[in-house]
Amino acid sequence: MGNAYNPYKTAQEQFDKAAVILELDDAARDLLRTPMKEFHFSIPVRMDNGGRRIFKGFRIMHNDARGPAKGGIRFHPHETVDTVRALSMLMTWKTAVADIPLGGGKGGVICDPHDLSLNEQEQICRGWVRQNFKNIGANIDIPAPELMTNAQHMLWMLDEYETITGHRNPGFITGKPVGMGGSLGRVESTGYGVMLCVREALKELNIKPAGTTASFQGFGNVARHAIELYNKMGGKVLCVSSWDQKEMKEISYCKDDGIDLAELKKITDPFGGIDKTKAKDLGYTVKEGGEWVRKDVDILVPAAIENQITSENIGLISPGVKIIAEGANNPTNPSVEPELNRRNIKLIPDLLANSGGVICSYFEQVQSNANYYWDRNEVFGKLDQKITSAYISVSEFSQKNKFDMRDAAYIISVDRVATACRERGWV
């Protein structure tokens, strides 16, 4: 099983490519290829039936040259150290591309919340903090919710941390509910971020957003807020597709004079599933799932799942399409990117396009540290500023150095981290 798939190895290979391009020296490569610190510990938990069980916990800090590390805590029954290592590295690049003063980390516990009562989960969260509290904190390493953890877990962890340290310290963790140290605008930030990038891209193409058209795949949280902002900017969405749980397939809903977000939201379930019959009644043309990609629009926004633009449908993309903004993770198959470049379609890569989430997370931490919370507009104003400048840096870097946007985003982030390490005299 020597060459079995290993996400850590894949992440290292990707880094190696960037290191070659950036001509990093051996010390920088050695430092950035592996996490700087790893903590492995056991968490004893008293189960509901009185028995004891020991759970394995991790916290891996990949790099904190640019600021305290930041990254989620995962609960998964088959968590492996290598997965956590790979994800902590990705966090370093994510914070760097958004140009926020944070590093990258990740942690987790080997457990399946499906087999645990809430009380037991609470014990695990508190146990995790007890075993590791010296190595984490608002100025060291900041956890957040991730796979199978949520705001409730974060509050338990925060409470345990504050109990141990004897201080109120809401900046210790993010992903908290509003009113308990959370930030406003969290729900909207990723979707808005996507559209702010699109706005900058249009600017580069000398096109005014008003009068442009777009087609969306997916109608979940990201897509809905992106559409909301896009409409405000004057754009018209001609098509959205959504997953139909009943029919077990994707369906596209089209309207030539533009969809009405408010009316569509009314007939949508919390997962972005649109009620087909009601949509028909509202005058939407109901077409098969792949229709969104064929639409003659200026902008395509795949905001659902991975691997949606492939060699199979690349030919269907209308000649009028100018921008593809990756609202989802990895929606574009790497094999079609040369073709997109050839057709001069501007691709806004996921690392950049959906960085609104991590930026807002950073804002939450800043507000928590200051114990002063901004209103919604302040959050959005700062988000705009932050993501716009991130976009401009990546775009300029790409033009200057003749990289496509995806490579540019990755390389610029590695470069920023490597520079910080160098300036600190680590390498």
Binding site: M1, N3, A4, Y5, P7, T10, D48, R74, H76, P77, H78, E79, T80, T83, D112, P113, H114, D115, L116, S117, L118, N119, E120, P145, L147, M148, N150, A151, Q152, L155, G175, P177, V178, G182, R186, V187, Q245, K246, M248, K249, D269, P270, F271, N307
Partner: protein, 1056 residues
């Protein structure tokens, strides 16, 4: 004038009353005179009566008593007469008669006033009391005398009986004689011949005669009875005799019950009267011996509830005779009814009384309630049909099922337009008065259901009625609902089901329960806060920490209809009452996805049963909805917040159903769990409950021993399966179930899968599954793979699929292979657990390395892999994903999975295609089951052949016509479509024409299918067109032609 007249009448009336009262006083005076003999008394009363009547001058009277006659002097008999019986101890001993000697104008009863009738009756009563009193006094005095004479105490009793109740004396004597014989006393045995059998005849005579007139006839028997006791006194002790006599006298007081209950011809009304009488007597200290009490309980259960022996066995321990008294008051039945209240009604009644009579725990008793219910006996439907001359509808069941379906709407109309028999109307009217004006549910309670342990779940109708408006309107609503349920007996579904279970020839005896719907009015809706079903055994465990007997609850807000049935577009909340904290859904996303979104309610405005969005209700009426804070959680991005009882705003926030409050802040789940444990102990078997909660109390709506649907019965493989034909076995976390006739196995090899080096290829393995899921015959293939199906987060741990990639599989199987010295935990299907439950896709974990299980690696290793044939572009993953055609590698066999949760054993074996293998059953009797006769595939194939034969090749440019899928494989079900592949080389226009030609067929076949099965299918012909080029390139369905596995079969076309 008028005033004067009415005043005159008033004065006249008063005068009459005064005369009557005076008469009564005089009679009382006579009776109170201790010195008078009976003769004197009679004579004096005869003289006293006439002045009490309206026309004293022509009034005469007469008393007949014990054969003697007393009259006044001028007495003569005429036709103008009234008389009253003198009843002593229930028997007529005489009469008092009053005559007018001349004709007088007609009043209430001939020339007599109704007040005069009352007068005479009360005098007769008083007189009878007096005579009885006198008799008893004499006996008592004599008894005292005899005690003084040191005669045995029991002789006193016997003597007393001899005078007052000789029938009882003979009865007791007979018992004593039997007792002596049983004790082996020769003298008694000899006497037996003399005492029997002529005795019986005589007692019959004796009972009819009027004591003491016929003393002569009875003397012989009485003497013989006394003789019995002479014998007894020689052989057993005084105490024993006394004790026995006392016991038998006590028993005799309930003898009337024995007569009624043991007599199979006594009707329900007679039983009802007897119980009522018993009820009054028991208030006066009537006690039953233990065996007699038990025999009463058994007899009553059999006559009134159900004759199922296992039920009777439980009921006799918990239901008291007196409990039937109140039950009988709520049973509506035809006049000469011999019906019962049927399975559901009985189950509820039993549950109620187990709790009332056999449970000590006062707390649980106070928490559990039962909705008020009325019952119509099972023969109500026959009475209804007789009354309306509908007897010939019974023949429906012997008609062809498509005809039954065709005629069913007509049957409903006929029933609905028929009238209820008046006596039942009367009963229903009483029921409505008692039940009040809250909505009602009218449910069927079939006798067939309990007869063979068959579950007719969902086969017969239950109807909700709003029960509002005038009494007349409510009554009409109720009778309409009842007739509609009666009509549903002749619906195609129950008839088909009965035919399958060989129950067709039984009478359709359908009891009815009319029950208050538990709930509250919320807006213009009526609904309980939440309702659900609870199962004693959990066949759908989502975590290895949950045991089977932790049970399973399916709960929903609103009416329980959505919890009882599987629902396709929504989910009930699943809770394991033994481990309520181990929830199916753990992440916020899962909780949202699987939270119930709709609820069933009664709309009081439209009089309809409706399904509405929960959000519409809680946003508007959140603060009126009792218990809502225990049902909903507010979603604040990724945080779930349980609402506070006061001051929570439901209107503008997003909420989901989590029942978090119910689990963590109330004792409801524990209470139901406790209740189930109590019932389990008393029934001796796990039970199923239906319940509802109105915000204050838990109401039990139904209770019965766990009746598994067929697919959840434990299944064992046939014996003597050769070892090579066992594909795998497993012994841990096994649910009950049977998955027959698996034609294809999709096997993801754990070792090969984990050796895949690229992420994309791991993803592709999942995609292969999704594509196979659409190609392989639905519900006839299984997915077998490593670790966690649908793994999120780490693709290496299991194939990454979503529910839509696996929704056609018959079973989802996870293999736990040792990895670095530890066996990974399996997912138990958690990622799409609730989808699996609602679609009844079985989940099974395998532990091949546990040392006990069989895993036939050779079978998986050496069987031909068809992946490359089916998905040539994915051939390079052939070492990881295998598609095995079971029939091909096993000479025509299929694979069958037998799962026995009771014994924790599962077997997958190769054997002949089952059709239907009879399962080893616990509850129902397999011999009653017929082979399934509805061959859905057969007529489909016939029609497909017909279509092919009548298709004009030239006109449409058709080259070939193929059939594939379930029809070809002879596995089609009632919902299956007919998969057709048409090879054509015609023009687009020809294709268009062919399509419209086929559309005609399609409509026709959909109709045929509807009449055969009741399933409305929009499209039944699933036609795929392929061209020469497709065949050359082997694209999509062209693969099916000449395929190595599951190949399409060509059908002959019309000859040119």
């Amino acid at each position: 004038m008028e005033n004067k007249e009415s005043l005159g009448k008033l004065i006249k009336d008063l005068r009459e009353r005064a005369k009557e009262i005076k008469c009564i006083y005089q009679v009382q005076e006579i009776l109170n005179n201790q010195s008078l003999s009976t003769d004197d008394i009679c004579q004096k009363i005869v003289n006293t009566l006439p002045p009490g009547f309206q026309y004293p001058d022509v009034c005469r009277s007469k008393i007949l008593l014990s054969g003697k006659e007393y009259t006044d002097q001028k007495f003569s008999e005429t036709k103008w007469c009234i008389s009253s019986q003198i009843m002593i101890r229930g028997e007529t001993t005489g009469q008092i008669k009053v005559y007018y000697t001349e004709e007088r104008p007609d009043e209430d009863e001939g020339p007599f006033l109704k007040e005069e009738r009352k007068l005479l009756d009360s005098i007769a009563d008083q007189f009878a009391m007096h005579i009885l009193h006198k008799q008893l006094k004499t006996v008592f005095e004599e008894g005292q005398l005899k005690i003084k004479e040191k005669k045995s105490e029991w002789w006193v009793i016997l003597d007393l009986l001899k005078r007052t109740d000789p029938r009882l004396l003979v009865n007791i004597a007979q018992k004593m004689l039997n007792y002596l014989c049983l004790s082996g006393i020769n003298e008694a045995e000899k006497f037996l011949d003399e005492f029997n059998p002529s005795f019986k005849k005589k007692t019959e005579l004796f009972r009819e005669s009027n004591f003491p007139t016929s003393v002569v006839e009875t003397n012989d028997v009485l003497n013989k009875s006394t003789h019995v006791f002479d014998i007894a006194s020689r052989h057993i002790s005084e105490e024993d005799i006394l004790e026995s006599i006392q016991k038998w006298i006590k028993e005799d007081r309930s003898g009337f019950m024995v007569n009624i209950l043991e007599n199979m011809s006594s009707s329900l009304s007679e039983i009802s009267n007897a119980i009522e009488r018993y009820h009054h007597l028991s208030g006066q200290g009537l006690e039953l011996s233990r065996p007699r009490a038990k025999s009463f309980r058994v007899a009553l259960t059999r006559r009134v509830l159900t004759d199922q022996p296992s039920f009777i066995g439980i009921a006799k321990e918990h239901v008291r005779v007196d409990d039937f008294n109140s039950l009988m008051k709520t049973i509506i039945h035809p006049q000469k009814s011999h019906g019962k209240i049927g399975g559901k009604g009985s189950g509820l009644f039993l549950a109620q009384h187990i709790l009332k009579n056999s449970v000590e725990d006062g707390e649980i008793k106070s928490k559990i309630k039962f909705p008020k219910s009325w019952y119509i006996t099972s023969d109500g439907i026959l009475e209804f049909m007789n009354y309306n001359g509908l007897q010939d509808i019974v023949e429906q069941k012997y008609k062809d099922i498509s005809q039954v379906r065709h005629e069913y709407p007509y049957v409903i109309q006929v029933f609905k337009n028929s009238a209820m028999p008046p006596e039942m109307i009367k009963g229903l009217s009483l029921a409505l008065d008692d039940l009040g004006s809250d909505p009602l549910i009218v449910r069927s309670s079939s006798l067939l259901e309990d007869r063979f342990g068959t579950s007719f779940a969902g086969k017969y109708k239950s109807l909700f009625i709003t029960n509002k408006g005038t009494k007349e309107k409510r009554l009409q609503q109720l009778t309409e609902a009842i007739t509609e349920i009666y009509a549903s007996t002749f619906g195609p579904d129950p008839i088909e089901y009965r035919e399958e279970h060989s129950l067709l020839d039984y009478l359709e005896e359908m009891g009815i329960i009319i029950q208050q719907v538990v709930g509250n009015r919320i807006g213009h809706y009526y609904l309980p806060s939440f309702s659900g079903v609870a199962f004693g055994m959990n066949e759908y465990r989502w975590s290895p920490r949950i045991e089977r007997d932790d049970g399973l609850m399916r709960i929903v807000p609103g009416l329980g209809t959505r919890a009882v049935d599987r629902i396709s577009d929504d989910y009930p909340m699943l809770i394991s009452p033994g481990k309520p904290d181990i929830r199916v859904n753990s992440t916020v996303e899962e909780k949202i996805r699987y939270s119930p979104k709709s609820l069933d309610v009664i709309n009081l405005e439209t009089d309809q049963f409706e399904t509405v969005q929960f959000s519409e209700i809680y946003e508007k009426y959140g603060n009126e909805y009792p218990f809502l804070q225990h049902i909903l959680s507010e979603v604040d991005d990724k945080y779930l917040r349980t609402p506070k009882k006061i001051g929570h705003d439901y209107s503008d926030k997003f909420h989901i159903v989590t029942f978090d409050g119910l689990i963590t802040k109330t004792s409801v789940i524990q209470d139901i769990r406790k209740l189930m444990e109590i019932f389990r102990e008393k029934y001796g078997t796990p039970i199923d409950l239906e319940f509802a909660h109105d915000g204050n109390d838990i109401y039990i709506l139904q209770c019965r021993p766990q009746s598994s649907p067929e697919e959840n019965l434990p299944a064992d493989p046939p014996l003597n399966i050769p070892k090579k034909d066992i594909i795998f076995t497993s012994q841990k976390h096994i649910p009950n179930g049977y998955v027959p006739d698996i034609t294809h196995i999709v096997y993801v090899d754990p070792a090969a899968y984990s050796a895949i080096s690229s992420y994309d290829d791991l993803v592709n393995a999942g995609r292969i599954i999704g594509r196979l899921n659409k190609i392989l015959p639905k519900r006839q293939f299984i997915l077998l793979g490593p670790g966690r199906w649908g793994s999120r987060g780490d693709i290496k741990l299991g194939v990454s699929v979503t529910y839509s990639d696996i929704n056609n599989t018959a079973a989802l199987i996870e293999i736990a292979m040792k990895k670095d010295e530890y066996v990974p935990e399996l997912s138990f299907g958690t990622h799409f657990f609730q989808d699996l439950v609602e679609a009844d896709i079985k989940y099974l974990p395998l532990y091949p390395e546990d040392g006990r299980s069989v895993f036939n690696s050779r079978f998986f290793g050496s069987s031909k892999n068809h992946l490359a044939d089916i998905l040539p572009d994915m051939a390079y993953l052939s070492n990881a994903v295998k598609v095995i055609d079971v029939a091909e590698v096993s000479a025509g066999k299929n694979m069958h999975i037998y799962m026995n949760g009771d014994e924790q054993k599962a077997f997958a074996v190769l054997s002949e295609p089952a059709g239907r293998v009879s399962l080893k059953r616990k509850v129902s009797a397999p011999e009653f089951k017929k082979a399934k006769t509805d061959l859905h595939w057969k007529w489909r194939l016939n029609y497909a052949q017909e279509i092919a034969l009548s298709l004009d090749q030239e006109r449409f440019g058709v080259k070939g016509f193929y059939i594939f899928g379930s029809v070809k494989n002879a596995t089609a079900g009632p919902m299956s479509d007919i998969d057709i592949l048409i090879h054509m080389n015609g023009t687009e226009e020809q294709k268009h024409d062919l399509k419209s030609w086929l559309e005609g067929w399609d409509r026709c076949l959909s109709r045929v299918n509807y009449f055969n099965t009741g399933h409305k299918t929009e499209k039944i012909l699933d036609v795929h067109f392929i061209t020469d080029e497709d065949i050359k390139k082997k694209t999509s369905f062209a693969l099916k032609i000449g395929a190595l596995t599951d190949a399409a079969r060509p059908l002959p076309l019309k000859r040119q």
